[in-house]
Symmetry: C2
Subunit: 407 residues, 2 copies
């Protein structure tokens, strides 16, 4: 008998019919003899509807009260699934975040889970109940309702799985696993059977929207085996687990493409100490996240400074950059929105040399110019013109032998 935490996302519970389908899957798992804890998102679209209601109430909705409002979305689906399970003859019980003992800090809107006091859930499991937990929500030490940020139900599920020492945390979603790259771009994309937390984290950060980043961090920290799989079929998905010797020994596990950044270049910035701080402090104060930063020294005591921001922040970042450029005496500000960041990710990079060279050669072979490069221990990212994005992904996918089916 295994203890399984199953998380179903918004599209899986979008209406009563789909919640009934979820009930069917949950019952099947329960009937197999396993103990089941279900974590649910709000029905697709409901959270956006609530945010729009809040924006009608106030142009700057108070964050504490917004959390109280948003928490109703998951409360609704949890109650409905528990009703359906009971109607079908099974013992079931819904738990809201505070009832599930999910203690968070007080950061409304993106609270972090501090602890899970899961005795109530354990008791209810022992009594033979299927447990249905409202995802995305918790309560702080004052008993105030908090929410965990977009996609927070993934984190709820992983955290509950960790607290309950569950055998697996199954994330049911509308895709059937994690792919070597986006199948819409590259038809040779393959489902990855096993991937390490580190690689999954890089892929999530780079925009593979299968799992919320924080849920992967949580899974990694507490070593929770996560199974990403489709809620619409029975196939095995992708296991996200600790790096281990039986992992596919590949150098590169996946290729990602992020079209959501824009590039800003300050030309001929005086090359003085402290100049970078002058440029990036105002951006930080405006809560603009800067991703890649490249500085090219030119002759004559001047440098070009290039960085990328998300397209959402682009207009504000551009304004600030133009103001700062005048202040520091830079020549001009150049911008480019039509860029793509293609990345290759793989634990194997830690022990294999030559990955960067292979990547650059592959792109060069298609005459794709690299504008910016950044790297981490297990990732190499190149910024290229957006029009080459799909070609670059397919080229890299082939260059690192990801096209081939593996055992």
């Amino acid at each position: 008998m295994a203890l399984r935490v199953q998380k179903y996302g918004g599209t899986s519970v979008a209406d009563i019919d789909r919640i009934n389908n979820v009930a069917g899957r949950v019952i099947k798992a329960h009937e197999s003899g396993d103990q089941i804890v279900v974590v649910l998102s709000a029905m697709a679209g409901v959270t956006d509807g609530l945010i729009s209601l809040a924006n009608q109430a106030s142009p700057r909705p108070d964050k504490r009260e917004l959390d109280v409002l948003l928490a109703t979305g998951e409360q609704t689906t949890a109650a409905l699934l528990a009703m359906i399970l009971k109607f079908r003859g099974y013992k079931a019980k819904s738990f809201l975040g505070f009832q599930a003992g999910i203690l968070t800090d007080q950061t409304s809107g993106k609270a972090r889970i501090l602890d899970i006091e899961c005795k109530k859930i354990q008791d209810a499991i022992q009594k033979g109940n299927i447990i249905v937990v409202a995802g995305f929500q918790g309560a702080d030490a004052n008993g105030d309702i908090t929410t965990l940020g977009r996609g927070g139900s993934d984190t709820s599920a992983v955290a509950i799985a960790s607290a309950l020492k569950a055998d697996v945390c199954e994330i049911f979603t509308d895709v059937d696993g994690v792919y070597t790259t986006d199948p819409r771009i590259c038809e040779k994309a393959r489902k990855i059977k096993r991937i390490s937390y580190e690689e999954m984290l890089e892929m999530a950060i780079l925009g593979a929207k299968v799992l919320q980043i924080r849920s992967v961090e949580f899974a990694k920290k507490y070593n929770v085996p996560v199974h990403v799989r489709s809620s619409f079929n029975e196939e095995e998905g992708t296991m996200v687990v600790n790096e281990s010797s039986d992992m596919e020994s590949v150098v590169v596990s996946g290729v990602t493409c992020d079209m959501n950044e824009a590039r800003i270049t300050l030309k001929k910035v005086p090359d003085q100490p402290g100049i970078s701080a002058k440029i990036f402090t105002p951006l930080a104060n405006a809560e603009i996240m800067v991703d890649m930063i490249i500085q090219n020294t030119r002759s004559g005591g001047e440098t070009d400074l290039t960085f990328t921001v998300t397209k959402d922040d682009f207009e504000r970042a551009k304004e600030i950059s133009e103001r700062v450029a005048k202040e520091v005496g830079a020549d001009e500000v150049l911008t480019k929105k039509e860029i793509a960041k293609v990345s290759v990710i793989g634990l194997g990079m830690k022990s294999h040399s030559g990955v960067a060279a292979t990547m650059f050669q592959a792109l060069a072979s298609e005459n794709i110019n690299i504008r910016l490069i950044s790297t981490s221990e297990i990732r190499i990212s190149c910024v290229i013109l957006a029009k080459y994005a799909e070609l670059a992904v397919r080229t890299l996918h082939a260059a690192f032998n990801l096209d081939k089916e593996r055992q």
Copy 2:
């Protein structure tokens, strides 16, 4: 400085514009120097929508889970009002039932309030907050969400007013007070300035939908002054208070008319001991509430047995009656749905004789036949044919001098 609990019903918070109006009233009361605790219902129609959703999920929604679902309605309005108050520059804080310390028994769907631990609210008041409480909901000793039944927000408000020892509990609604009778039936209906808990209770039971019956019971038990008034104007409404010497010294305070009952008669029932139990036990088992019961002894050891039930229960009650009639050897079952129950209510009846005689004479003077009579200490009710209902109400209103304006 007074402490005022203000309750706003579903039509007063039906959309963001109306919630903004409520915010305006609340701010005005706060600006006058009073401490304000607001109790809110769900937006008009929302609770019905949630019930319909639950019925899609299950033909017999589990009551515990239905409470979890329904509680989202008041959670939504409480969060929205608190947001608006904060946006307008006031300190405000929403409290869900469990956060407000509303401890109930475990009767899902119609829980009774056992205790209110209002220290959190008191602390928040002391810090200068306007308090916004989600009405209709509480939590039982296990921390399970419970709801108080239809109109339960009135009860929430009165109970919170009692716990906080508030100076007044203001019930804002879409009518501007309690009337001597239904103004839609009798244009001479007058707003009552002060009415006793006992009279209000009789009027609520008889279908004057201004206040939930249990809220009046609660107010009576804990002596909470209740002010029923309109959320759409500034006029004084009706004070519901303890019987006192300064109350208008009238014999009859109000006339009500209840069209929601139907009559069932079992003709020629054998007049034997235990026969009533044989008839009413199956009705009780079917959870059918019987209101009035009249037994007329006929000659020859037979009686006619007549009773009334609500129209909702009529078809089921008729079926059961016909079955029982056969079993006990009654002659036949006669039914009538087109009936009305008109009642006069007044504390003065306790000390004045002749009220019944005046009522019967007034009805007789208009040739209105009385089919059934029942009385309580402060109420006399007559069942008549429905077509005479409006005439009867106007006649009684005049006969008891309610047409005249008082000071």
